[in-house]
Amino acid sequence: MIVILYLLLASLALGGGGLALFLWSLRSGQYDDLDGAAQRILFDDDEPHGRRAGEPD
């Protein structure tokens, strides 16, 4: 039944990894502007962001 131990450890490691990623994304401010993130996808620019004036269109 030692296989249960392996499975337990594996599932906890995966879940814990997910939790760690979530906490990191929270800390790095990815949940700060949910409204903006939801709307931004509708305004996907054809041209790359940060293009400077004067460059050809």
Binding site: G18, G36, R40, L42, G50, R51
Partner: protein
Amino acid sequence: MTDAALIDRPASTVAAENAACVHCGSPTAPGRRFCCAGCSAAYETIQRLGLGRYYRQRLLDPTARAPRPEPPAARYDLRRHVVARSDGTCELALAVDGLQCGACVWLIESVLARDAAVLAGRVNMTTRRLRLVWRGAAAEAERLVELVEALGYRLVPFDPAALAMAEDRTGRELVRALGIAGFAAGNVMLLSIGEWAGLMQDMGPATRDLLHWVTALLALPAVALAGQPFFASAFAALRHGRTNMDVPISLGVTLVTGISLVDTFGGGTHTYYESALMLLFFLLVGRLLDHRARGRVRAAAEQLLMLRTADVAVQSPDGTNVRRPPEQVAPGDRVLVAMGERIGVDGIVEKGESPLDTSLVTGESLPMTVQPGTAVYAGMLNLGGALVVCARATGPRTVLAECVRLIEAAEARRGRFVVLADRVARAYVPVVHVAALGTFIFWLLLGGDTLGQALLIASAVLIVTCPCAIALAVPAVQVIASSRLFGKGVLLKSPTALERLAEVDTVVFDKTGTLTEPLLALETTPDVDQPTLKLAAGLAVASRHPLARALAAAYGPVPATDSVTEHAGAGLSCATPGGELRLGSRGFCGLPPAAAATDGETAAAEPELWLTQPGRQPVQFHFVERPRADAARVIAELRRMRLAVQVLSGDRAASVMPLATALGIPDWQAACSPVDKVTALNALAASGKRVLMVGDGLNDGPALAAASVSASPSTAADISQTMADLVFQGGKLWPVVQALVTARRARSVIRQNLTLSLAYNALTVPLAIAGLITPWLAAAAMSASSLLVIGNSLRLRRTGADR
């Protein structure tokens, strides 16, 4: 009733809505594409940059400020807020006013990205802030800000240090708690399924204990972390000698976890970690949704505070101007107020003559003309020429600040309202826990049971009385009622507004802008014929003065007359081959002052415009306030609902009385100052009345806060929208009735829910005390009661709450 409300809409409103400015969407003279030169310029800029998609993709938000560019004015000393970084770049944090939707964010970012100097310009739509990073001198800030302001947005710099304070800390904590609870609940649930499956088969006690230990290791830290929001609130309540809904939740979660831990140590068959975690997870989802819904409103309030703090231009003795924040202005300083600028201090006009928009301070819809010697107050908007004001009071001592203080004081009083759920919890919690303790002692001492058995029966009592159904009874109804009202154009801002609204027995209205239309209407008089009106309207479309707009709207679509000159605060003129045409005040048109005009009171009573043409008699245009189209119907309906109706107005009795009589309101009071209104409302409250206050001006702000619940139309001054518990959209008053009806229905459903969950407890608790219910059966019964409560709440969605 919905159909009737639609039919009720007057044809003129539909026509007026069609004539909207292409750029800012605000009503404009019919037949014209733009409402002003600023909008036209903004439109051209956007088209030139190839960003015309903006107009197709945006969705104008009627509650937000229209994106109309204002004349450029140096309102702030931007350089004070610029943070220069070591790598030669500068950073500036700005609050953005006038954001409508995602397209605005895209537009601002695209325009900034096309500027060579800008390294980063990113708008946070939730907090409505813009972070701007550029390479170059700090002075560049002015140019970049103007770039965005020319599009019709207003930018206000703020201290990034204040940003940390304004950050949404509670929201973050809730999301963190939710993440942890979700992770732990999911994993514990999976382990529990394995355990239950094993119990049906032939899992050995050793494996079962292992699973219990692993779940305990997961659940204990998770409960400790994710339960924080509930524990903190429960602890705070207990420390003040009160209980609230969080107390039973915290106790339930702690006890269920504790019992499970005892079982884990003792090698028992059952643990209930998953129940505790699932409960936390679901409650946190509800809390977070609630928090987010109100976050938008809170952000708007913060925005308002920021927008109010414009720098003022102080004249030094040597004649130069220095921009300073209002709190750094000393009494006696000379402050220069340019056209289009809001006055930042209270004081007396020293030089200049100009009309002021005083609506924010007095609620008066017509501009007031000031001259040297007139007292002016912070918050008034200068519509005409430059003024020099000698400061008397600044910052916290201004009348505006006084109003804000009145509001805060009233808010604090209202904060003592106890929501129904907490009142129930106060009675419920002690009873339940005494019952569980009694059960435990009874079975241990008298029943002769072992410690473990007694504990198990007591825990069944606790689980069966788990406050799930009661905790859900109120929020479930509130979420459904709010979304229903939202669909009807009523925005509920306070979580307790529905409950307070249901108790209302008196409705108090402000007059100007609430019972009446925000815009004045032209009175039809025999000496104004159609050609004259057309001529005057053609001149009037050139101006944004309220009277000129009312005049232009009265005629309908009309081509603008060419080469019209606007004389600030006086009128409009136009040179024609036959001579000069003039439209404006009596004095501007070269007429002798009217006999009554010497008495300032009467002169202000009759808003008028004059038109002079060469070789013709001057023509007078009279304007009147028109009640909102459905005002009479709303008053009648409120009476039918057995509500007392009153009018408290800051306006003169001469204009309040006719309106009150026409609408059938015998109970009215005129010439009320903000303090009078608060006194009147407090008197009503003292006589045991529950008052709904409906108002729209800043002068109504304190009254809105003093009433037990308050409402504002979305056309109201920002500050009163911030104060009001609910904001309704559209040109009608009917939403007030809808909100009252929905609140009353919501209250009855909440009562049903509470009755249901108490009945469930009355049924199951005796069985649990008798030891007839095992804990897992208790858990099933508990879920069933929760579903019952949610199902009952959903009925609110289907029944006709319009009636």
